[in-house]
């Protein structure tokens, strides 16, 4: 965190100074490790084993927060008797279908319930997906209550017992064998965590996107969720799981998504064939309990924001105009579609995939096969110039004159040159005002999108084609100003926040949204950002002039709540768990929830509220059920639906690994990982396969403080470039000796994809580990570089394979294998021969 988020890390330092214990779990020893109380050097790709070890410690040692777990989690819910655990099936969950390469998730459901997904949806799950199958919104529970529970937690099939059996294997010895973490250190960490959790104390987990960059990334986060729920660290001050995002407003880009499978506010993207009408879509995605019970209100308000007066009850509020999913349209299959000719055009906005994507070479080859490409960036990044000076031009694989892609480069305005908001990891929207005009032709994204659509509309004006209605009927009336006719960002914010369609008056929160077309809101969770006709995100009242929660600095979704699920900061009766951790609680006299934050609960719902039969949405949740987005109001230790790779986390090795899986020797890597067996995406043989010894070392990629992601915002700046002027590879003195690598000399790093070169940094911060009795060396590569800019060099991501977590389609950037050799790599066509030789030796 100090490495990649140094500004946010000031608060960790402040916590440390006030006595907090800082534990840093990371394969590399970073600037964070330097100031932490404990650095835990974990082998890359083994976090589920480590977290599983902690879960086992908490369960076996009876360290869990009994009252919290009993009342607020699904620990007592009884699971379907068809369910079989990895303990029963040697590493597999029940429902595996070898032919489709996917799980049938029916047996994972709660006892006495319909399978969580209809047959059609299970097929989808098999195809690809997680979010869009949308069990994540809550199992389909009648009246919000699971049919079978055991409050004594003794039933052998209750979640608690299932959990206990599942994690019993994750012993300190197993953690040591798998992760390379000594048992003494593991005991210290476990003790610190337990000591700092409970009624009086809370512990927080912070992770960066490195956790998500694995074929089991979703289950990493799940493991942390289980642990935090068991310890009572969710919904309470000082607790939680904080996801540090890759750069500014990545949180915003999932809330108002740039993802193919969700609509604003995490509404699922409709599926072709299945979501044939608004009613069908709403029915599929409306669980009986919790706030997703209002899916119709959110969806209709979104449609009204987009299509305005054209959206009427008679035409399903233009639901038909939303594009429908026909399969996995995530980025990597799309890139392969470029290569294979099914994708013709591509917008790249503020991203540099030819440096930042896994198997970036495939990205370049794909982009060289497009009809058109639009790149908008602050700098002339590699994604805009690969056709004239990319690595494939050097090797002769591509010739400029053969590339037919028409490339449009459009310079972008920086955040200081435009109005807008950032949404940070706390879901806090902070407005920034334009300080200076953008230079020359530079324009904001808002300007680009607004005028692009306006131009397309004028070209389509005379069209009577049904397919053009989606654009022609758009409500596209944002006011513009200034010499560049910049659209008003505040007008967009107001539309996102919401208004009543009759008079355009701002509305103050999502509970006011209606399903009859009388309200519009571009993103239901942001509803209220413009309450009282005021840009709430632009508030900057200094902290010293308000309470410690600082509710008047910016605006946090939803409803300006600073801690989600904060009803859990009080006990079931509504009293603070302790005075020390007092936050949101029930005021019996005034019959309202109150406290330091906006309660994440209906303000007047008493702790002893019990829903009447047939109650819907939030009214179907009891007064002591804090997890209001879940159909049962509970935190899920066990996930009966919504994930495609298992209801519980299990440790599987990375797709390419230098070690075998000690936990489940029969299942080396995640069975559901999404593979692409192609000539242009060859995989290194992993442990146990012939040829694995050709790539004997673990490889990890990462960021360093000196540069920013794929370099567009740092490699063109002299003051940043001089701090880390070229790619380097971090290796231990032991590996240096083994391979004859010289400090400050050159190394060539090789995978089945390609070979790159980097300067050698021999450092004690890298250490070989003993894994399952064998010595494993790890090679560390920052990934920031490419051939353009001031600070240049080979791209580490060229080495990585495309292999994805099937829940979310994120690639395994953080764990692979490689070889490393002294000296510079061959140039030109000789590089291809060099890599070909490796492929031959590895048995390709």
């Amino acid at each position: 965190m100090a490495e990649c988020h140094p500004v946010g890390f000031q608060w960790v330092m402040e916590a440390r100074e006030r006595g907090a214990t800082i534990i840093h779990v990371d394969p590399r020893f970073t600037r964070t490790s330097a100031v932490a109380d404990e650095h835990v050097p974990i082998r890359v790709g083994t976090d589920v084993a480590f977290l599983g070890g902690l879960i086992n410690h908490v369960l076996q040692g009876e360290h869990w927060f009994r009252e919290y777990v009993l009342a607020y989690t699904n620990a007592s819910t009884i699971v379907n008797e068809e369910y079989r655990d990895t303990e029963d099936l040697a590493g597999w969950f029940s429902g595996w279908d070898e032919e489709s390469g996917a799980y049938d998730v029916a047996s994972w459901s709660y006892e006495g319930m319909e399978p969580p997904a209809a047959a059609g949806k299970r097929e989808q799950a098999a195809q690809s997906t997680g979010e869009q199958s949308h069990g994540a919104h809550g199992a389909e529970l009648q009246d919000g209550e699971p049919p079978a529970t055991d409050a004594t937690l003794q039933h052998p099939r209750c979640v608690f017992q299932v959990l206990k059996r599942h994690f019993a294997r994750y012993t300190p010895e197993m953690v040591e064998r798998t992760c390379g973490i000594g048992q003494d250190q593991f005991a210290r960490v476990a003790d610190a965590l337990v000591r700092n959790s409970g009624r009086e104390r809370t512990s927080a987990f912070v992770y960066s996107v490195g956790w998500t960059h694995h074929t089991t990334g979703t289950q990493y986060i799940r493991s942390a969720s289980i642990l935090q729920l068991l310890l009572g660290n969710i919904g309470r001050p000082g607790g939680g799981i904080m996801a540090l995002r890759g750069h500014a407003s990545i949180q915003g880009s999932t809330d108002i998504p740039t993802l193919y499978n969700i609509l604003p506010g995490y509404l699922p993207m409709p599926h072709a064939g299945q979501d044939t009408s608004l009613d069908a879509y709403v029915e599929t995605n409306t669980p009986p309990g919790g706030y997703w019970g209002r899916t119709r209100e959110y969806t209709v308000s979104l449609l009204k924001a987009w299509w305005g007066d054209a959206a009427t009850p008679e035409n399903d509020f233009c639901f038909d105009l939303i594009p429908k999913l026909t399969g996995d349209h995530s980025i990597y299959p799309t890139v392969m579609g470029m290569r294979d000719g099914s994708v013709e055009g591509f917008f790249v906005m503020g991203e540099n995939p030819t440096v930042g994507s896994a198997n970036a070479k495939l990205h370049r080859l794909g982009m060289a096969n497009l009809k058109w490409l639009v790149v908008r960036d602050l700098q002339m990044v590699e994604s805009a110039t690969f056709w004239k000076d990319g690595p494939e031009i050097e090797t002769g694989e591509l010739r400029t004159q053969d590339i037919e892609t028409e490339v449009f480069y459009l310079p972008g305005a920086a955040h200081t040159e435009k109005d807008g908001s950032f949404t940070n990891t706390q879901r806090l929207l902070q407005w920034h005002h334009k300080a200076v005009e953008p230079p020359g032709d530079c324009r904001s994204e808002l300007h680009f999108m607004f005028h692009l659509i306006a131009r397309i509309r004028s070209k389509l004006e005379a069209s009577t084609e049904a397919r053009d209605r989606a654009i022609l009927d758009l409500k596209w009336d944002y006011p513009t100003h200034g010499p560049t006719t910049e659209p008003s960002a505040e007008a967009v914010l107001k539309e996102i926040s919401g208004y009543t369609t009759a008079d355009g008056a701002a509305i103050s929160g999502y509970t006011e949204l209606k399903g009859d077309g009388s309200t519009a809101s571009g993103c239901w969770i942001y509803c209220g950002t413009y309450a009282d006709e005021v840009n709430q995100a632009a508030r900057r009242k200094p902290g010293r002039e308000q309470t410690w929660v600082a509710p008047e600095w910016g605006w946090a979704w939803p409803m300006n709540r600073r801690i989600l699920y904060n009803r859990a900061s009080a006990d079931p009766e509504g009293r603070p768990w302790s005075e020390r951790k007092r936050y949101v609680f029930w005021d019996a006299e005034k019959e309202t929830w109150t406290g330091a934050d906006v309660p994440d609960f209906q303000a007047d719902k008493a702790p002893d509220y019990v829903p009447e039969e047939g109650a819907q949405a939030e009214m179907a949740l009891r007064g002591d059920e804090p997890f209001v987005m879940q159909a049962d109001g509970k935190g899920w230790l066990y996930v009966p639906s919504g994930l495609v790779d298992g209801p519980l986390p299990a440790h599987y090795e990375p797709h390419e690994s230098p070690a075998r899986n000690p936990l489940y020797p029969e299942v080396q890597a995640s069975p559901t990982r999404q593979r692409f067996e192609r000539e242009d995406n060859l995989y290194n043989p992993t442990w146990g396969e012939p040829g694995a010894d050709v790539f004997p070392f673990a490889l990890m990629t990462y960021r360093i403080a000196e540069h920013h992601t794929a370099g567009g915002m740092s490699r063109w700046l002299p003051y940043l470039s001089e701090l880390a002027p070229e790619p380097f590879v971090e290796i231990s003195p032991e590996l240096a000796a083994l391979r004859g690598l010289e400090h400050r000399g050159w190394a060539t790093i090789v995978s089945m994809r390609t070979a790159i070169e980097a300067r050698v940094l021999v450092t004690d911060r890298m250490r070989p580990q003993t894994i399952d009795g064998r010595e494993v060396h790890t090679v560390g590569l920052p990934y920031h570089w490419g051939p353009n800019g001031l600070s240049t060099g080979d791209s580490a991501n060229d080495l990585l394979p495309i292999v994805l977590d099937r829940n979310v389609h994120i690639s395994e950037f953080k764990a692979a294998t490689c070889d490393v050799q002294p000296g510079r790599r061959p140039v030109g066509p000789a590089l291809l021969d060099y890599v070909q030789d490796y492929r031959r030796r590895a048995g390709a």
Binding site: A2, P6, V7, F9, Q10, M13, E17, F29, R31, T32, S33, A34, V35, H39, G182, D184, Q185, I704, A705, E706, P718, Y719, L720, S721, E722, L723, A724, P725, E726, F728, H743, R744, R759, V760, L761, T763, D764, R765, L790, S791
Partner: protein, 267 residues
């Protein structure tokens, strides 16, 4: 020391760089260069741990040192990674200022030491005079450049750019007396926490430079960070030396005169 400013004299200000709070982000290096328009000075991979800057110079006024040390932890051999942001010390007894023949180097009303770029003639006398190797000539223009403690910002009641940018308050700016008191407390606090190696560096008015305007809390010996353990203002004994030289000259003259007289007598 700012007595010559009369009523214009301001409270002496400085830096307290608390390396126990440094996370090595180098924001200070960048903020300094941005604010003061200091040129980029080389895209060299140095491999000094995470440091590719190397040291202070004409084009580097803040420099973060990274020191990797093998240490014995409870059960295993561990690693300690020290980080420290170095800067011009703005000495109480500043040799650079004493040896400057043009008056380019001067003591400001804040008690800081600044080079005036329009007066410096590039003679370079100050370069060897500095016990820390801070003063350095910019080869392209022949003049000497160094940290001004953001003299322009001070005059606008702004803190220096590096301190402003430091996310963890490792670089603290303020009245020197206040910083010294705070620093003493901080060392005691760290000692109580078992950080026995914590010590202040250049905080004492009794040291070889009369105490620095930019002083440090270090976690190890100064040499570990590349700092001289006992720096001395080379002009400190100048008065003494001249007096001694004068006395020697008088003695010599007397001896010569005596010899002449004696010689005459014997002539």
């Amino acid at each position: 020391m700012t007595v010559t400013y009369g009523e214009e004299a301001r409270e002496r200000v400085g830096f307290f760089t608390d390396t126990s709070l440094c996370i090595g982000c180098k924001a200070c290096e960048v903020a300094c260069k941005e604010w003061n328009a200091v040129p980029e000075d080389g895209l060299d991979f140095m491999g000094l741990s995470m440091d590719n800057t190397g040291g202070l110079g004409a084009d580097t006024w803040r420099h973060v040192a990274f020191v990797e040390q093998r240490v014995q932890l409870e059960d295993v051999e561990g690693l300690r990674w020290l980080m420290s942001s170095d800067v011009c010390k703005h000495c109480t007894h500043a040799a650079c200022l004493d040896v400057c023949p043009t008056g380019s180097l001067f003591r400001t009303e804040f008690g800081t030491v600044v080079v005036q770029e329009d007066i410096c003639n590039g003679c370079g006398y100050c370069v060897p005079a500095c016990p820390f190797g801070v003063l350095d000539k910019r080869e392209e223009d022949g003049r000497v450049w160094k940290c001004t403690l953001c003299y322009d910002r001070l005059r606008d009641d702004q803190e220096p750019a590096c301190a402003k940018a430091c996310p963890t308050d490792s670089i603290q700016f303020g009245p020197l007396e206040v910083l010294r008191v705070h620093a003493k407390g901080r060392v005691e606090e760290l000692h109580e926490r078992g950080q026995d190696g914590a010590r202040l560096y250049l905080d004492s008015p009794d040291d070889g430079v009369g105490g620095a305007g930019a002083f440090f809390l270090l976690l190890d010996e100064p040499e570990v960070y590349g700092l001289p353990p006992d720096p001395v203002d080379c002009t400190r004994d100048l008065g003494e030396s001249w007096r001694a030289a004068g006395a020697a000259a008088v003695t010599l003259a007397a001896v010569v005169a005596g010899a002449v007289l004696v010689g005459r007598r014997f002539a």
